[in-house]
Symmetry: C2
Subunit: 371 residues, 2 copies
């Protein structure tokens, strides 16, 4: 087994370890998005230094540009990007359903136009696997249908059933080897559908299980209800991945429900818009109050941005449109997420996750109001 469950905290939080041929990933873990093959603005060395062990690349983006055949010819995604640690690629499903114009879903495949140049493309479950085999990621995902939120029960049911059929087709063409294939549970915010999805996918025996279709507009309560329904129905010895989630608070709440892997654009995207995560909540570096502030962004942080520069300088770079500012902000945010997961892992090992969660959430209490 690639995944080992090392400990379960009284809260339900899981401490695990994924072994891959490209290194070990300690869980719970956060994967930053390297949509086009780069964590925006950062070198692989810096990403690693932020405490990150695994990154996510987007099949949709890389399929369209530069193309999976080009990347295969260049030695695969690891050689291409210079990130030599583990990589997860999504199937492209979420992007096709959220970014591409003029999509049409049939039982066989999704037809869509490229958001880059308007060209027409067909993505089937088999093709999504073939593309990801060419890219060469360590964990790959089957094509799923990602409906919008809100959605009627019947539509969510149809999308779930198709997703399960597509998952089976994906499993049938998956060659295995060093590449692990996860299943994706859909089903909207309907507990019945989520339960059906979890049971159906469990029978297909994937190396891990993802919960998709969340963080699309539903409430925190709805997300929690879905996780409480879904996760207990998945095999306990397989890793669980909550796709596209979320804020630090979201991560802290999902961990005791049994989530091992997270990914989200939040730390990198917020870095570029000047919203920075600190041990005392969020701050927006654009604020005039920071213009003369010689303090580091977060005095409790050990990242290079906090060790080397003042809030005043970071604000100056941001308002002056300097690229270095986006980069330093992103580095800090990623370090925040990387070290939040590190602290969570330690708390789980020591059996004190609930106290840890309460303490961090207490410090973050004002986070949404100050950003």
């Amino acid at each position: 087994m690639a995944f080992a469950l090392l400990a379960v905290d009284p809260s339900g939080a899981r401490r695990g370890r994924l072994r891959t041929s490209r290194g070990t990933v300690e869980t719970p873990t956060f994967m930053p998005c390297a949509s086009a093959g780069a964590v925006k603005g950062l070198s692989p060395h810096e990403v690693r230094g932020a405490g990150i062990e695994m990154i996510l690349c987007n099949t949709y983006h890389l399929y369209l540009r530069p193309g999976h055949d080009a990347i295969r010819a260049l030695g695969g995604l690891h050689a291409f990007t210079g990130w030599h640690g583990p990589i997860l690629t999504d199937s492209g499903g979420f992007q096709v359903f959220s970014m591409a114009p003029l999509r049409t879903v049939t039982e066989d495949a999704v037809l869509f136009r490229s958001h880059v140049d308007g060209s027409r493309h067909v993505l089937s479950p088999e093709k999504a696997i073939a593309i990801q085999q060419a890219l060469g990621a360590d964990i790959i995902m089957p094509l799923d249908e990602c409906p919008p939120y809100p959605i009627a029960f019947e539509e969510a049911r149809d999308a779930l059933e198709r997703t399960v059929r597509w998952a089976e087709r994906s499993r049938d063409v998956h060659k295995g080897g060093d590449q692990l294939l996860f299943g994706i549970v859909q089903g909207g915010v309907f507990p019945d559908l989520r339960a059906r999805g979890a049971r159906a996918l469990s029978r297909l025996e994937f190396s891990g299980y993802a919960v998709g279709g969340l963080s699309v507009g539903e409430s925190k309560g709805e997300m929690e209800a879905v996780l409480r329904t879904t996760l207990p129905l998945l095999p306990a010895d397989r890793p669980r991945y909550l796709m596209g989630v979320g804020t630090p608070d979201d991560l802290l709440r999902a961990i005791p429900l049994g989530v091992d892997f997270f990914d989200c654009v939040m730390p990198t995207r917020h870095g570029r818009t000047g919203t920075l995560f600190t041990s005392r909540g969020r701050l927006n570096i654009k604020g005039a109050r920071y213009a003369h502030d010689p303090a580091p962004l977060d005095p409790a942080c050990t990242c290079d941005t906090c060790r080397e520069y003042s809030r005043a300088y970071l604000r100056h770079l941001f308002v002056s449109g300097e690229i270095l500012g986006l980069r330093l902000n992103t580095l800090h945010n990623l370090h925040y997420y990387g070290h939040l997961m590190q602290a969570a892992r330690r708390a789980i090992e020591e059996g004190r996750y609930a106290a840890f969660q309460a303490e961090v959430q207490g410090r973050l209490a004002g986070e949404d109001s100050s950003a």
Copy 2:
């Protein structure tokens, strides 16, 4: 004396050393532009790693935003930017004359509007020095009048004479200490005016001398004629600084005429537009020919960009609009300039500058055509 002339090559090329309280600068040297207090996209650590010992910051930009008083309160430009090596600030003259709308020149000062917010400002020679004292650079420059090219003799003469009067006023308010004040020779492409400027400024006894108003559209022959006229009239024991120049070829040609310091936006700006300097000439990374090219940008280069990434990846980052691409390109270009100056210094020490220049120019022969 802060400056020591260590050797003069048979070609006339000078090998020197500037000692400052913030470290030593080996000359000939190239200073990248950190207009707003950052070499665009790069950390101070990376700039240093590219073989750069001194950077240039723009008084005009920093005066407008965040303001020299703010920077002084934050401990000066070195503490503010995190670049702890030597810094040169220009006087703001060139930017006022090239970027600011609605400027008016009187004998006393220049009136202009900010290109950032349209606010009105007055820059006098005394104020330019006061601003630079607040910023705390190691070398500062007096306000000069920078006329456009081409310009009539009479206008160039008037601008030169005012520049000399302003230089004297600047010197009179300069406090000295660790801050060195250079003089700036103007005079357009008119040898008579350049000679008058050089003689007049030499009498004012500056710590070094700059040649301004070049690389504004004149031919290489005109630039060379100006340098051949001007430099021999300046004190041989003081450093000479050719402002705003230029291409690698420009640097190689100016060094045997006796130039010690250069600055230019070219390596950083070209990095952001994908034009990259290599040992075999320029290449534009946008080119479709690089889409599948696994080779490093310049196989002869030892920078991180060339050690870690392929041309195919750099092209992909560039066409995908990834910030990391701009950063890796800039790092490479700066390394190219830094190491060109390092090689030039070694050639001068070994008395073989002319052969070195011919060899590098031979390799660069196609440079302008391939970009």
